[in-house]
């Protein structure tokens, strides 16, 4: 399978820029869907918030191919513009992930794996949460693990990213039977069971956007 793909060996600045732009498009398209998911267990604003955040991200995105600087800009804009808990959580994700990448214009597969790890560690700390609590992490952690597993088996970047996106999607769906333990949904207790977590959904969308953007750039 992996051999059939003439995928890239690195992820470049323009690919990251494309990822960010794709994410903005995806959140514009899924704004209503995300807010619908958020209405039974949250305050029905996750779609609006992410859309507003990524619109602002596009406006403020700096010139150049410094990947660290691009991701840090995403972080700072989301912190200011998202409004809800997703602001500091996604802000932390991009900020922590960007730190080792400052000055880099292209990322190796190992850099990307490191990005996932740092980003996830930041989110865990900020949200005082972990897998199984019906949060973003239920999509992000399986994605990161799948990326590493595929890499360990010799899969190239694109294959690893596709595996990550698939794992994120499964992880997102796995939040449906979970009882929320963090955020406003946790106030609902057992009534949060049966609803897909909006945060896990937006995280899946972001991981899928990365995979799509890299695939499109390498076509």
């Amino acid at each position: 399978m992996a051999d059939a793909l003439a995928g890239p060996k690195t992820v470049t600045g323009p690919m990251i820029r494309a990822w960010i732009e794709t994410s903005a498009e995806v959140f514009a398209a899924n704004r209503g869907h995300l807010s619908d998911l958020d209405s039974p267990i949250g305050d029905a604003d996750h779609g609006n918030n992410m859309n507003r955040g990524f619109n602002a991200v596009l406006e403020k995105l700096p010139e150049g191919d410094d990947i660290g600087a691009l991701l840090k800009s995403v972080a700072m804009t989301l912190i200011a513009k998202v409004g809800g808990a997703a602001g500091p959580l996604y802000g932390t994700l991009f900020l922590e992930g960007s730190k080792p990448l400052m000055g880099k214009t292209e990322l190796s597969q190992a850099d990307l794996a490191q990005f996932f790890e740092d980003a996830i560690a930041g989110v865990k700390k900020r949200g005082r949460s972990d897998v199984g609590m019906k949060t973003m992490l239920d999509a992000l952690v399986p994605a990161s693990e799948a990326f590493q597993a595929e890499t360990a088996q010799g899969g190239e970047i694109l294959a690893a990213l596709r595996a990550a996106a698939n794992a994120a999607e499964s992880g997102m769906k796995a939040t449906i039977p979970m009882q929320a333990q963090r955020g406003r949904a946790s106030y609902l207790g057992e009534r949060s069971i049966g609803h897909q977590d909006p945060g896990a959904t937006s995280s899946y969308l972001i991981v899928q956007a990365l995979s799509d953007a890299v695939e499109k750039a390498s076509e």
Partner: protein, 840 residues
């Protein structure tokens, strides 16, 4: 100045809250509002960058407190704090308090100049508690039980001994019984757990809610009613009060060396000892957690250790016999109840079963955690219980580890040194071979201090960590009164000590011999010696002290540490019980001197820049007539049961005295209407402590029946020297001729008007002051009970005529130092003449 940042989802809310906070503080404090997001369509949310900017706007070296409303606002506040530079981060604290209450409480604290920590603590305490109705519902819903509320009336509240009585009564029932301190807003605890009950900090007049199984609720409540009626067994047995920190015995002494070879601490019991130090290690040892394979056997072993510990305590108690009073025995009853505490036992058993770790390690951890919990409480009485917990913990640990008696004292007479003395250490002491006791830590209110002070050997606590460094077997000199040990004393120090000990022992013997004799001079002049009293607990000590009366009952204790002012009946009960306990000796009740340095939460008093010159004493009483009249009515009613006097504090003018007397008259009228008896001829007097009152004493005297001089306040007002300021301690000296002249003037004014005059300040108990005050004509000397025998001994060696010459002379001196020198010389000449037997 400390800054505040308000993080809210709503800009309107954060702006509005800032406005309210600004309006509440008279000094402007830096407050930044960081609410909402920049999106006109969806303005609700938080903006981490706005928070970051806000923090920097109000940043100074004094620090910044950040408050947030709900979940994601808190996340964004923390995000912003993470974005600060490291040196900025050290100055910023997130305060997890309810937004509105927290910000307002912090703003007020900051405006008043509080530290960041204090402002934060106040803000956190602004948490509104769940309403009583909600809690009550929870209590009964949890257990399916029946609830009833009780008010605890015994003076000590549910501290060690009364708590043990309650727990023991509750353990006679089979169902769950819960207790919750409603007054203090505590959570519900198992009423069969001694620690649950004690950690509820139930003080006198606290209300508790008891929840019991419906099947036995009536019986449970009846048992509690009975305990309350019996005052939890506190009646009739007075606690031995810890010795106050003693002043050095006022004997001529050679100057003390303060070389590196001495350690100084807190005096628990006076006396001298010379001998080798013997360390008794009694801190909880570290225990290595060892895995076990058979938890059931381990549990059995643990239970056997508990029951062996109980047998040991009972055995030691019966061996101690008469040495331990009935009241103090109850300390050990509390120890035994720890061994039966279901909360502790269940925790230990549960962990043995789950973790498969040896009982020693688990027991040590549980005991340690519990002792830390006690140590962290605010009430010093409860803090001191940490020592009791460790004491029991050590005993069980020793038995579990199969070790013999830890206090295996050598036969050679020695001075025992402890890290901290525990009650059972005292119980197992061999009095033949223990010359004295010293400890690195410990306070005067611990059970161990109470027990040790009755041993008739010198005891000194709080000598510090350096004590541990003194080698075993090292010769030391222990001076209980000076609270000092001298390490490796030389021959001359030993000789000095032996002389001092001899003098001191003779002196103690002579003082004891005159304790109950009249306070009479060689030439037959009699004065009255009285005791100062500040709580009901002191009654027993006062009755044994040789006091003829109580010259000052401070009543502030009635108003402290509670949520509402004490009512008339409650106060009446207390005054009446004191009157009854005094068995005919007069009781002088001073009306409450509530002022700036004695804050009372439920009285809405303004903060004062200068509380000593502020709205306190009689000034405050006259302005708050309900509080004042309630107390007057209670005192007057108590006067129907024995001799009682009323005394007003901090009087400045004749008008104040007249107004206070009118209040008394009006309360008397009300009592007559209510057909309640009181002593129509009860004496009314005032404190002389404001220079204006001393100066006008001739015009005030005809208005009252007596004066009592308060030397502490009089000295600080005459000398304009704050008594709490160590830099002014030479000025704050009642022996200053200026103060003595004020005293002389007051005494003369009293006698010219044919009324008596006493003194209830610290000076009254000072032997050096005795000849001067006697010479000036003072009629009543009221002091700490512990000083009375000593005072009588001094007095009985003096003659009034010579004292008059002395006092006339010292009024003409120009310094406090020369007054003290003259008085010391005078005493030295008369000391040998003390009468030790009754006047023939």
């Amino acid at each position: 100045m400390i800054g505040i940042v308000i993080v809210s989802h709503s800009r309107k809310l954060s702006d509005g809250l800032k406005d309210v906070a600004d309006a509440m503080t008279q000094v402007p404090i830096p407050i930044a509002s960081a609410g909402g997001v920049d999106d006109p369509d969806h303005p609700l949310g938080t903006d981490g960058i706005r928070v970051l900017d806000a923090i920097r706007d109000v940043m100074s070296d004094d620090g910044v407190l950040v408050f947030a409303d709900i979940g994601s606002a808190k996340l964004n506040a923390e995000m912003a704090m993470d974005l600060l530079e490291p040196e900025e981060q050290t100055k910023v604290q997130f305060c997890d308090a309810p937004l509105v209450e927290g910000v307002l409480a912090a703003a007020v604290q900051i405006a008043a100049g509080s530290s960041l920590e204090d402002a934060m603590r106040e803000a956190r305490q602004a948490v509104p508690a769940p309403t009583e109705a909600v809690k009550q519902q929870q209590d009964t819903a949890q257990t399916g039980g029946v609830s009833r509320e009780f008010t605890i009336r015994n003076p000590l509240g549910l501290h060690a001994r009364p708590a043990a009585s309650l727990v023991s009564a509750m353990n006679a029932f089979s169902g769950d019984i819960r207790l919750r301190n409603v007054t203090k807003g505590k959570t519900s605890v198992n009423a069969k757990s001694i620690n649950g009950v004690m950690l509820s900090e139930v003080a006198r007049n606290d209300r508790i809610l008891m929840v019991a199984d419906p099947a036995e609720a009536e019986a449970v409540f009846a048992a509690i009613d009975q305990l309350i009626q019996e005052n939890f067994g506190e009646d009739g047995i007075a606690p031995v009060k810890p010795e106050p920190i003693r002043k050095p015995v006022p004997q001529p002494r050679p100057p003390r060396d303060v070389s590196a070879g001495t350690l100084t601490g807190l005096s628990i019991a006076r006396g001298f000892a010379l001998g080798p130090i013997r360390h008794v290690r009694s801190a909880l040892p570290e225990v290595e957690p060892v895995s076990i394979s058979d938890p059931d056997a381990e549990i059995e072993r643990f239970k056997m250790a508990l029951s062996a510990a109980e047998t040991e305590i009972n055995g030691a108690l019966s061996a101690a016999g008469e040495r331990i009073s009935a009241y103090d025995r109850k300390i050990f009853d509390a120890h035994i109840s720890y061994l039966h505490d279901p909360d502790i036992i269940e925790t230990v058993l549960g962990r043995i079963s789950k973790q498969h770790i040896c009982a020693e390690a688990i027991w040590r951890q549980v005991v340690w955690d519990l002792s830390r919990t006690y140590a962290a409480l605010q009430d010093p009485l409860l803090q001191a219980r940490a020592g009791d917990v460790i004491d029991v913990g050590l005993r069980v640990l020793r038995l579990l580890m199969g070790q013999g008696d830890a206090t295996d004292h050598a036969a050679e007479p020695s001075i025992l040194a402890y890290e901290e003395l525990r009650p059972s250490d005292v119980l197992t002491l061999n009095q033949e071979t223990v010359l004295g006791i010293c400890a690195a830590t410990g306070g005067t209110t611990s059970h161990a201090a109470i027990l040790a002070s009755a041993l008739n050997i010198p005891v000194v606590f709080a000598l510090g960590d350096a004590l541990a460094a003194v080698a075993d077997g090292q010769q030391v000199l222990l001076d209980g009164a000076a609270a000092k040990i001298t390490i490796a004393p030389d021959a001359s120090a030993i000789e000095t000590m032996q002389n001092e000990r001899k003098i001191w022992q003779d002196h103690v013997a002579r003082a004891e011999a005159v304790r109950d004799l009249p306070a009479e001079t060689l030439d037959g002049h009699k004065v009255r010696v009285a005791a100062n009293m500040a709580s009901v607990d002191e009654l027993g000590v006062i009755m044994r002290s040789g006091a003829q009366e109580v010259g000052l009952l401070r009543t502030e204790f009635l108003y402290m540490r509670r949520d509402t002012a004490p009512g008339e009946d409650e106060q009446y009960d207390i005054y009446r019980s004191i009157v009854a306990g005094l068995k005919g000796k007069p009781l002088t009740v001073r009306t409450a001197d509530i002022g700036g340095d004695k804050p009372v939460s439920y009285l809405d008093r303004p903060a004062e820049a200068n509380p000593n010159l502020g709205w306190r004493g009689l000034r405050y009483s006259l302005a708050v007539p309900e509080l004042f009249e309630t107390q007057l009515a209670a005192i007057l009613r108590a006067s129907a049961h024995g001799p009682v006097r009323i005394m007003f504090p901090l009087v400045s003018t004749v008008d104040e005295v007249k107004a206070a007397k009118q209040r008394v008259q009006s309360v008397m009228d009300q009592l007559r209407t209510r057909a309640l008896p009181f002593d129509e001829g009860l004496e009314i007097g005032i404190m002389i402590e404001v220079p204006a009152a001393a100066e006008m004493a001739d015009l005030i005297a005809p208005e009252v029946d007596f004066f009592s001089i308060g030397t502490n306040d009089l000295t600080q007002y005459v000398m304009a020297a704050d008594r709490a300021n160590p830099k002014l301690k030479d000025l704050f000296d009642p022996f200053n001729p200026a103060v003595l002249r004020m005293i002389a003037k007051s005494i003369k004014a009293a006698h010219d008007a044919d009324i008596w005059i006493g003194m209830c300040g610290a000076m009254a108990g000072s032997p050096i002051a005795a000849p001067i005050l006697l010479g000036l004509g003072l009629d009543e000397f009221s002091m700490t009970p512990a000083d009375i025998a000593e005072f009588k001994l001094t007095l009985r060696g003096l003659s009034l005529s010579e004292c008059r010459n002395l006092s006339a002379r010292v009024l003409g001196l120009d310094t406090a130092r020369s007054v003290r020198e003259q008085a010391s010389l005078f005493l030295g000449r008369h000391k040998a003449m003390a009468k030790t037997a009754a006047t023939p």
